[in-house]
């Protein structure tokens, strides 16, 4: 057995996207020695790819906006399935988190009076997304990265060492969390470059590992999004919720095949782009669900007026929440009204002058020009749905971001609850900032309240090492790529955008078989930067998380947000208050149980009209509403 490199920190943050970096900034600000760990280089996390913007009700463009409107939009988008306390904290704190970025040096696009400009997005009542062209995520991650540099420069002045209080370990992958007497004591992983092992001793770990897109074949997500944080949490004894809810973004590139799944930002629609089918029809007018009838325009004329006069017109149906638009596109293609490459048309060329397109959507222009040879100022794009985001994640305590395991925190895409059954565009970047900060704070407070620090068990570290080296010892198995492709195909075909009971059952059978094959995967070659080995280790996580998705999807016999059952096509109020909670059972199996949602606080319930709530809630649940209570006293 080789020597294992060791480090000791107060707080270890796994993940260097928006959530992880913001958590680390907070932990360091609270005086904690903090490590940031990431699989890829610093600055390359998924957050960098976010295009559209960051939602915060600053009211810079429409002064009617405030946290209550944002809260309502978020709950509606999530079909009232959201953890309402998280949605409340998010709506209240997002503006402060965005303004704070300016003090770190961020340069958002401006309004005429010099404030941060805000743009329209699906499901948001008012222009709400702070943005920089269509590269908002880049601005966000670079700003946080540069803030960390500035903290390191402060530390350098004080100690002569940039890394005395905050250090980034990049291209380093965590494979196991370590516990001692039931509480977190550290984390174990390997350097991707050398293949050497590394052990962090730390009483508090913040998971900020992002999503699970690589479970699916068509996805906007990169190789990193293999559900590591979800699986690490499960294996450490924490619980996941809402894993059946996966967001399929309605508009991704569909051609050429090699770029299938690459995102076409929602800003294209927010700024005026329209969706049409092969008959040239703007089909979204046919897909406005009853619950949204009041908010969306029914004619092209009214839609077009909305861009200039939003107070007196209803919004275009292209801006319905993502689940609605994705299902609509899916139906059009199925009905034979798709575009030549199996999507639908998304057009800006007939809607605005070329200069405006180049100004507002520069990276989309560039992306289509280079990758598909399509000039979006002259012709329509072809787009279709792709796996984009997971609403499900680690069950956390909203105020502190703590999981049910002492010392383990989670924030960002890896945490569950905030977005309910469907996330609104722009609500992720703000989520990262709000809950990243809270997780850093939660972890710092936890460390402060701790007596003795738990010591890592040597045997646990050795066991983690043995497990990581298994693929080199195996004989006769397949290579990781083959098994991964089959897993992706299975999830795509059988637990994808539209689901059926018997198909999910079939998927679960296949997953059992894949679990055995995953254990036997063999790796060729050496340990230095060997992507085959890395995938073999990630595969183990993807498998466990796939089981969570499939089991929860089978259990929930209704359709809601990012979970559509062909055999149970309606949303059912009796399911609204039921959370499906998953925990690990052994190496690669999971257990599912039902849990009641905490009822919404009456003052928050009162922010909605009773008529709207009735579309989502059962009668008994609404007794506490202002109208309900008033109604009762009237009749009494």
């Amino acid at each position: 057995m080789s020597e294992i490199e060791r480090h000791s920190y107060d707080v270890v943050v796994i993940g260097a996207g928006g959530a992880g970096l913001r958590a680390a900034i907070e932990a360091r600000a609270r005086g904690k020695r903090t490590a940031i760990i990431s699989k890829s280089l610093l600055g390359k996390a998924h957050t960098v790819m976010a295009e559209g913007g960051c939602a915060a009700s600053m009211g810079n463009v429409n002064s009617n906006d405030n946290w209550m409107v944002h809260f309502r939009d978020t709950m509606r988008g999530g079909k009232f399935f959201n953890n309402w306390r998280m949605a409340e904290l998010h709506a209240k704190e997002a503006p402060d988190r965005v303004w704070e970025l300016e003090t770190y040096g961020a340069l958002f696009d401006r309004t005429k009076d010099g404030k941060i400009s805000q743009r329209n997005f699906g499901g948001h009542t008012y222009p709400r997304l702070a943005h920089v062209g269509d590269r908002t995520g880049l601005e966000l991650i670079r700003t946080l990265q540069q803030k960390i540099v500035s903290l390191q420069q402060e530390d350098f002045k004080a100690t002569g060492d940039y890394e005395s209080n905050i250090k980034v370990f990049h291209e380093c992958t965590i494979t196991d969390l370590l516990k001692t007497d039931g509480v977190i004591s550290g984390a174990f992983g390997y350097w991707r470059g050398t293949g050497g092992f590394i052990l962090f001793e730390a009483p508090a770990v913040v998971l900020a590992t992002g999503g699970i897109g690589k479970l699916f074949k068509t996805t906007t997500n990169s190789w990193e999004y293999t559900g590591d944080g979800h699986a690490l949490a499960l294996r450490a004894g924490a619980t996941l919720i809402n894993m059946e809810f996966i967001q399929f973004h309605p508009t991704a590139m569909v051609w050429p095949p090699s770029v299938k799944g690459i995102l076409v930002t929602e800003s294209v629609r927010g700024d005026g782009g329209v969706l049409t089918n092969s008959e040239g029809k703007r089909f979204m007018f046919d897909y406005i669900p009853d619950v949204f009838k009041e908010q969306y325009a029914t004619t092209a004329e009214e839609s077009d007026r909305w861009y200039t006069d939003p107070d007196n017109n209803r919004r275009p149906p292209e801006l319905l929440p993502r689940d609605e638009v994705a299902r609509a596109i899916n139906s059009e293609v199925k009905a034979g009204r798709g575009s030549p490459h199996g999507g639908v048309f998304l057009d800006v060329s007939s809607r605005m002058p070329a200069e405006v397109i180049l100004k507002k959507l520069p990276s989309m222009y560039h992306q289509f020009k280079v990758l598909a040879d399509v000039d979006i100022t002259k012709e329509p794009m072809q787009v279709g749905p792709t796996c984009h985001y997971v609403m499900g994640g680690v069950e956390v305590e909203p105020d502190t971001a703590s999981s049910n395991i002492s010392g383990l925190f989670a924030a960002g895409e890896v945490a569950g609850g905030m977005h309910g059954s469907n996330r609104l565009g722009g609500n992720s970047l703000s989520d990262l900032l709000v809950f990243g900060r809270r997780a850093g704070l939660g972890a710092a407070n936890y460390v402060d309240g701790l007596g003795a620090r738990p010591a890592v068990n040597e045997a646990d570290a050795r066991a983690a090492e043995t497990r990581a080296l298994l693929p080199f010892k195996n004989e006769g198995g397949e290579n990781a790529y083959t098994v991964h492709l089959e897993l992706q195909q299975t999830m795509n075909d059988l637990v994808g955008i539209i689901r059926k009971g018997e198909e999910i059952e079939l998927a679960l059978k296949k997953l059992e078989d894949l679990a055995i094959r995953t254990r036997q995967v063999v790796v060729e070659g050496h340990r230095e930067f060997n992507p085959g080995w890395h995938l073999a280790l990630d595969l183990r996580n993807m498998l466990l998380v796939s089981m969570c998705v499939a089991k929860a999807a089978l259990e929930r016999v209704e359709s809601r947000g990012g979970h559509t059952r062909d055999d149970y096509p309606v949303m059912d109020s009796d399911w609204r208050h039921v959370l499906l909670v998953l925990s690990a059972r052994g190496e690669d199996d999971v257990r599912l149980r039902r849990q009641e949602q905490v009822p919404m606080r009456p003052d928050l319930l009162d922010l909605f009209e009773l008529d709207e709530l009735k579309k989502y809630y059962t009668g008994e649940e609404l007794g506490g509403h202002r109208a309900g209570t008033a109604g009762e006293s009237d009749t009494a």
């Binding site: 790819m49 303004w99 300016e102 062209g133 090699s258 790529y481």
Partner: protein, 253 residues
């Protein structure tokens, strides 16, 4: 239309390496990174390569294709002659870790040496007011995806290891220009640009601008204006006098 392409890929580590020949299938619409991935999946599972977004947004996949620094994910196969071999090598200016993956730590060190944004005193969060025209200049530089192709191509460091300590490279000199043009940044950065970060080494050849996948006009919009401002400041008689009279040593600066 599929065809078989002849790839020559550099394989090796920091000690030794060589170009290895592969024949590999290429399909319509593919980019170089797709083909590298096909090699990984079908012929050589341990071929090391960096990538993330596959859409030119993260700056991970820089390499030299037929000697020219490019993003592999944004280089379409259709621009090359089908009958000619395509050579893919790692970025030359940085030490190789394995195959196409290089050690780019140099850039993170340089990033850390550029003094951070200095927030204006007395302006509370939420009170920042800036005009769009004023932020646009710095915004151009903030489009940078940190692919380090410009750092790789700049002749000051490309074959001159000895210049690395004194020279921040185009990407980070541009960072200084960005902060200098930030409407609310409170620091003066011109002397340091010249004396500590090596602006003087740049002789405006524009090679950096040519390879930038974000089409940032690094030389024209960042480096030359910064040089001009350094000159202005040096010969401004008051500043000159000030810097002579109150000259402080770096230690107590």
């Amino acid at each position: 239309m599929s065809y078989t392409a002849h790839f020559r890929v550099w394989r090796g580590d920091s000690n030794k390496g060589e170009l290895v020949d592969y024949n590999v299938e290429v399909n319509e619409g593919e980019v170089v990174l797709d083909v590298i991935h096909r090699l990984q999946q079908t012929q050589t599972g341990d071929l090391a390569v960096r990538w993330n977004c596959k859409a030119g947004k993260c700056g991970s996949c820089g390499a030299e294709i037929n000697g020219r620094p490019r993003l592999m994910c944004m280089t379409r196969m259709s621009i090359f002659d089908k009958s000619e071999a395509l050579t893919v090598t790692p970025m030359r200016t940085f030490p190789v870790i394995r195959d196409l993956v290089t050690d780019v730590e140099f850039n993170y060190q340089k990033a850390r040496e550029i003094p951070a944004f200095a927030p204006p005193a007395g302006v509370a969060p939420g009170e920042y007011r800036m005009e769009q025209v004023d932020v646009e200049r710095s915004q151009e530089f903030r489009k940078c995806i940190e692919c380090y192709l410009c750092q790789n191509v700049c002749h000051v460091v490309r074959d001159h290891e000895e210049n690395k300590p004194a020279f921040a490279g185009p990407r980070f000199l541009m960072r200084i220009a960005e902060l200098d043009m930030h409407p609310l940044d409170a620091a003066d950065r011109k002397r340091a640009a010249q004396e500590e970060h090596g602006l003087g080494y740049c002789n405006i050849t524009k090679c950096c601008t040519e390879v930038c996948p974000e089409h940032i006009k690094i030389t024209d919009n960042a480096l030359i204006p910064l040089k001009e401002r350094v000159v202005d400041r040096k010969y401004d008689p008051l500043v000159w006098l000030g810097s002579k009279i109150f000259k402080r040593t770096p230690a107590n600066a």
